[in-house]
C-alpha cells in the first residue's frame, strides 16, 4: 500500500512553462519534505514543511502543505531545463515515507 501518491507520474514541458506536482495521502504527517533526484544520485532535500497551510518559496519553486497536513503541492514557475529530474515528496511519521515520484523533463 502506497501511503503517498504523486501526480502526475510523468511531465514533459517546454522551457518557460509553469507546472504543479501534487502529493496526496489519507494519512496525517508531522512534516513533509520535497526532494529532487537526478539519475544515479541520491535524493537532494529541497524543503521541509511542518505547519498545516504553510507555504515556502525557493526561488521559482513554491511548496505548500495542506491545512490537514495530509497533502502538499510543488509549483514551478517558468521551468528551466535544469529543473529536470525526479521529484519526490516524503512524509514523516515514525519513519520517512516516500511518494511514488514525478519525473519532470523540461525541454529547451
Amino acid at each position: 500500500t502506497q501511503l503517498l501518491e504523486q501526480s502526475p507520474q510523468f511531465l514533459s514541458i517546454q522551457e518557460g512553462e509553469n507546472l504543479t506536482v501534487y502529493c496526496n495521502s489519507s494519512s496525517v504527517f508531522s512534516s513533509l519534505q520535497w526532494y529532487r533526484q537526478e539519475p544515479g544520485e541520491g535524493p537532494v532535500l529541497l524543503v521541509t514543511v511542518v505547519t498545516g497551510g504553510e507555504v515556502k518559496k525557493l526561488k521559482r519553486l513554491t511548496f505548500q502543505f495542506g491545512d490537514a497536513r495530509k497533502d502538499s503541492s510543488l509549483h514551478i514557475t517558468a521551468a528551466q531545463p535544469g529543473d529536470t529530474g525526479l521529484y519526490l515528496c516524503a512524509g514523516r511519521r515514525s519513519k520517512l515515507i516516500f511518494g511514488t515520484g514525478t519525473r519532470l523533463q523540461v525541454f529547451p
Binding site: G40, L45, K95, F98
Partner: protein, 113 residues
Amino acid sequence: DAGVTQSPTHLIKTRGQHVTLRCSPISGHKSVSWYQQVLGQGPQFIFQYYEKEERGRGNFPDRFSARQFPNYSSELNVNALLLGDSALYLCASSNGEMNTEAFFGQGTRLTVV
C-alpha cells in the same frame, strides 16, 4: 564537511550470494536509515538505526539485516540475493531520531544476475 558517503558505488552479484553495503553519515549525525529504490519508483524504507539501536524496520524479509557501529557508520547486509534485489540502495543520515531532515548519499547500485 563531507556529506553522506556510501560504498561501493556499483556492485554486481550473482543470485544466492550475499552483499554488504556501507554508509558513513554526516559528522555529528547519529541516525542512519537505509532505503531501497527500484528503478522508476520512490525509495522504500528498510531500516533505521539511532545510537546503534534499531529503531524501525520496513516490510523486508529477514535476508536483510543491518547494524550501526560506535562511530555511527552503518552496514546493510543482504543474504541469498534474488534478481529482485537489484536496486539503488540509499543511506540517509539525520541529526535526531525523528522529525528531522534526512540527507542522502549517492547510493549503491546493486545488480543481481
